[in-house]
């Protein structure tokens, strides 16, 4: 028996769904709004999924945009794959916009989605007109104040834990639960969301298995990590950003936020860039305050 469609005030399922083949990886693509309306690209953050835009995207669509979003590989309804990397995500995105967005368009990205779009727009500026980063602007994170040998030991522990995870990755499965339990797990990341909103997100982001509901995210993916990439590189590139830019920042510090503050990023903003702080929100501004976030974005797009 099919589960009934979940509901939440203001939430609307996408008007259209597509599947894009990215070199053998199936990528789930969603659109809200009229099929012939001008396109607007929307990118979700790491460990999230496009249906978290079910309130935010319809607000943009009602203003006359065809909002196009997609699930990153391993997220939402896109395929789980053998390998995951930043470059692979960017290549998948190229397949999505080649398939659905023929003309230059504005783009909005949250968190990792914002970082991806910043790099993508720098690489292909001719395909974009404006950019909005929702807590997706880079920040120069200070090194922890520890001695060199202690830093070596801490990094060693982190890498060792990551390798241990890789050894187990093939057998890992997400913990099953009721929809209510999954909603409460999500509440750790979104402590200010209503239970009703969290239940909706769990219903559209999880699948029902015989032993319970599971978030769809690939269990082989893991939070945090290490690597050669440096946030400073994005920060130093920011003054030359090629299209008009709006940054939205929250005020409540949370485990997943980027630690970016007005003071830390303002010296690097290109001329004319706008920065808006949404008081009382954390990392997920568009989920916590979708109406306020949409109004800011629409004002910026109209300017």
């Amino acid at each position: 028996m099919q589960d009934p469609e979940p509901s939440y005030p203001g939430a609307r399922a996408p008007d259209r769904e597509f599947r894009v083949d990215a070199a053998g990886v199936g990528i789930a693509v969603y659109e809200w709004g009229e099929a012939d309306a001008p396109p607007l690209l929307l990118a979700h953050g790491g460990f999230d999924f496009a249906r978290t835009f079910d309130v935010f995207a319809p607000l943009l669509a009602e203003a006359g945009w065809r909002v196009v979003s997609w699930d990153h590989r391993g997220h939402g309804l896109s395929d789980h794959t053998e390998l995951y990397s930043w470059d692979a995500d960017l290549r998948d995105l190229l397949e999505v916009i080649d398939a659905r967005i023929p003309a230059p368009c504005p783009a909005i990205g949250h968190s990792k989605g914002g970082g991806m779009l910043m790099q993508f727009i720098h690489a292909l500026p001719h395909r974009f007109t404006k950019f909005v980063a929702i807590d997706g602007l880079p920040s120069k994170r200070p090194h922890p104040d520890v001695a060199e040998h202690e830093r070596t030991r801490l990094l060693g522990k982190e890498i060792s834990a990551w390798l241990d995870h890789r050894r187990r990755a093939a057998e890992l499965v997400r913990k099953p639960g009721t929809v209510e339990e999954l909603a409460q797990r999500r509440k750790r990341m979104n402590p200010r969301l209503s239970d009703e909103w969290l239940l909706y997100l769990a219903r559209v982001g999880a699948r029902r298995d015989p032993d319970g509901w599971r978030w769809r995210i690939d269990p082989a993916l893991r939070f945090g990590g290490f690597g050669p990439w440096r946030a400073e590189w994005s920060l130093q590139r920011l003054p030359g950003f090629p299209v008009p830019l709006l940054g939205l920042l929250g005020t409540e510090r949370e485990p997943m936020d980027w630690g970016t503050t007005r003071a830390s990023v303002e010296p690097y903003l290109p001329a004319g860039a706008e920065l808006h702080v949404v008081e009382g929100t954390g990392h997920f501004i568009h989920i916590e305050q979708p109406q306020q976030a949409a109004k800011r974005v629409l004002d910026f797009l109209a300017s």
């Binding site: 053998g24 390998l83 990397s85 190229l94 070596t152 990094l155 890789r166 690597g227 050669p228 590139r237």
Partner: protein
């Protein structure tokens, strides 16, 4: 003899070139290469078994869909081999040398000496920020090697301080006086940084192997 190992959803081919009871020698090939079919003559004096690993997307290992390669993922390949072998002395060529460095830092108790050698993919994409570029991959050629691997692992970034941090983990946590030996002549930025670290010695392959063969 070929052993099949699992690293997440990838099956890896580990070739047993020489059987033996002493500590194994693990060979890591360069970018686009595959494991040799027989142990090179220069390794004839090694007292233990000799094994060679095909990285993901190379040789007899799985070619995944849609790329997504990083040197760190290949470190996980090496870790699967170290888990199977229970530790090894590692000889890496080109890309395999850089991945060997990551493994020596990531599993300092299990890599009992690393020899860095010249070979394809030694340089990578440099040590700092580069202009963003979305690489389209032409997958019409022969596979393996995976064309995505050839593109992604020839432009992966290898900052000096990042390479040095893995060398420090190897030197501080392995308990070995000289855990890394550089027998390569090419000097990309990451390798130049490596040679400045305490515990990293520049010496020929034969000298390094003689030293590592005597370790407990």
């Amino acid at each position: 003899m070929k052993h099949t190992l699992r690293h997440s959803r990838v099956e890896l081919a580990l070739h047993e070139l020489v059987s033996g009871t002493g500590r194994p020698l693990l060979l890591l090939h360069g970018l686009g290469e595959r494991s040799p079919t027989a142990a090179p003559a220069e390794l004839a004096d090694w007292p233990g078994g000799v094994f060679a690993l095909d990285f993901t997307g190379h040789g007899d290992s799985t070619v995944p869909r849609g790329g997504g390669y990083t040197a760190e993922i290949l470190m996980g390949d090496v870790d699967a081999a170290l888990g199977f072998l229970g530790g090894a002395t590692v000889v890496g060529r080109g890309l395999g040398a850089y991945v060997g460095l990551l493994a020596a830092g990531g599993r300092p108790e299990q890599v009992r000496g690393l020899v860095v050698r010249d070979g394809p993919g030694l340089v990578g994409g440099g040590g700092g920020s580069i202009s963003p570029h979305i690489a389209r991959v032409d997958s019409s050629g022969p596979v393996p090697p995976d064309p995505f691997a050839l593109v992604e692992l020839s432009r992966d970034l290898r900052p000096r301080d990042y390479a040095a941090s893995f060398a420090r983990q190897a030197t501080q946590l392995s308990g070995l006086p000289r855990p890394i030996s550089v027998a390569a002549l090419e000097r990309p930025e990451w390798l130049a940084a490596l040679t400045e670290e305490i515990g990293v010695e520049q010496r020929p392959l034969a000298d390094a192997l003689r030293d590592y063969a005597t370790l407990d």
